[in-house]
Subunit: 305 residues, 2 copies
């Protein structure tokens, strides 16, 4: 695979910034300034929500929608909901009873700032709010209600014990153990892959994609979801901790189950490249309309954080 | 208010047992036997789900539906979802970083059996599963999709930072502090009242209730929700710990904000009785059809656990 050209990089950077701004604006509008008796949990929720996330899942959702002819406005609440779910998973994952991390994206983790109890509840609040967002009165008009119900179900399944939560369970139970390759693949596909796949698929469904289109985009999402987690593993070994905003080598310290730990860096990169190639291969039917999805797939390998 | 007669008690007991069996059967059918890599989280979820809950919220939902002419089958997935949300809130509430309770309904709490990390994830899994349940393919046919979206939204708002999570935040922050009465009322209305109100209202909406009917049932739910939490406070002072399955007097030990602590037992009981009277007062338009809701309202005061 060729590296992204400077022109492609610049185009993609502008695109990602523009979409990120849309998501940030919608999230800011949705969450009130913290007030009232429960102000601290609102502060804690928005602290992590605006702690510098890339908005990858929302952007994938919006981009996927555009590929099948939908527009951003149609899926902004779904995109915001995906970011709420992602953020909740990070807050709970960082808690002392889970990974016990002090830093996330260069900032103190939620519980370091607000304490463990409020962090726990902020996570609960964000997860719950995702489903409030997707069912907002203002929103149900633009997407057929039956499709919206399908999207909610898809996202719930990808986030719950059959998806992300299931992956986190196996991940936390695997620390310090010798795992075989199928188990590490299971963790990656569930803990990270499932919600990324759901983000792409939700955009495709909400944008009115037909079965052929949603099948193809679902496969794309599955491939880049796994590739993304492998690139996280690789960045943890090779990455610049100043750019990443967390210490590199932390997976090794915690004896986390990673691709590099199990099959080495070189083989991990080969698998990752293969997945991105396969992801791009699923997009043929969309022609030029899927160009941004191709760039995003390639960006996943080249990113530095 | 008169006490329930023996005949009423017996009728209500049979009714509650019959509806509880329906909910238990549906929950058993929905959750698989624990298997696969994430088996432990399924075990942990079902451990708490089948640890002897009264199924009050599901039963309120089904009973409310019947009052407006709906049938149990229409709302079973919503009823199960309400129980999942309630159970998740108990698991998280019992965690060491929250109330740090060892016993719940006479059994070891989730984290005592499965460890803190799995208990946290089991709670996350149950909350998420609630939204999978309510959007199941098999289900969307029986309730108009627009109504189902409204129900999901209502339940999400009642459970999140504007509802239950908000109440838990203030509750946890209030331990050991001197709270004023409005703040204790806030905690009770949000931590417990919001989901009970939502249970009644969800049943009314899903059963096809008109605005007058849903308004009345929403008020009923609000009143009994608050009365239920006050009765919990009173049971903690007066209750028989063998019957309740947890130590009595635990609120006092933890310096929890309760009605009895703030305004005394006698005044608490007066307020509780007033709320149940008001709740019953909202049901006039339904005549005999609402008789079970009246009995449930009165049962809330007389219950021993």
């Amino acid at each position: 695979m060729k590296s992204l050209s400077e022109e492609q990089k610049s185009h993609l950077k502008n695109y990602l910034n523009e979409k990120k701004a849309l998501v940030d604006k919608a999230l800011r509008a949705h969450f009130p300034d913290a007030g009232g008796p429960a102000a601290d949990v609102i502060k804690a929720m928005t602290y992590s929500l605006f702690a510098g996330g890339k908005r990858l899942r929302p952007i994938l959702c919006m981009t996927s929608t555009s590929v099948v002819g939908g527009v951003d406005d149609d899926v902004i609440p779904i995109a915001c909901a995906l970011e709420c779910i992602h953020t909740y998973s990070l807050i709970h994952d960082d808690l002392p009873v889970m990974d016990d991390d002090d830093l996330r994206r260069g900032k103190p983790t939620n519980h370091k700032v607000f304490g463990d109890a409020i962090a726990l509840l902020a996570g609960d609040g964000l997860l719950t709010e995702a489903f409030n967002l997707m069912t907002a009165d203002s929103f149900s008009g633009s997407i057929p209600e039956a499709v919206l119900l399908k999207v909610i179900r898809l996202i719930a399944r990808a986030s719950g014990y059959q998806g992300m939560v299931g992956g986190q369970v196996v991940d936390i139970q695997s620390e310090g153990k010798n795992l075989d390759f199928p188990m590490v693949e299971y963790i990656h596909k569930h803990k990270t892959g499932a919600l990324i796949r759901a983000s792409v698929l939700a955009g495709a469904l909400a944008g009115g994609g037909d079965t052929d289109q949603t099948d193809a985009l679902g496969r794309y999402g599955e491939k880049i979801g796994l590739a993304f987690q492998i690139s996280d593993d690789i960045l943890d070994v090779e990455g610049d901790s100043a750019i990443m905003g967390k210490g590199s080598g932390s997976d090794e310290k915690k004896k986390k189950a990673t691709y590099p730990a199990l099959i080495g860096l070189r083989r991990s990169k080969e698998i990752q490249t293969g997945l991105v190639d396969e992801a791009i291969g699923t997009l043929t039917q969309f022609g030029d309309r899927a160009e941004t999805l191709r760039l995003i797939a390639r960006y996943i390998i080249e990113r530095k954080k």
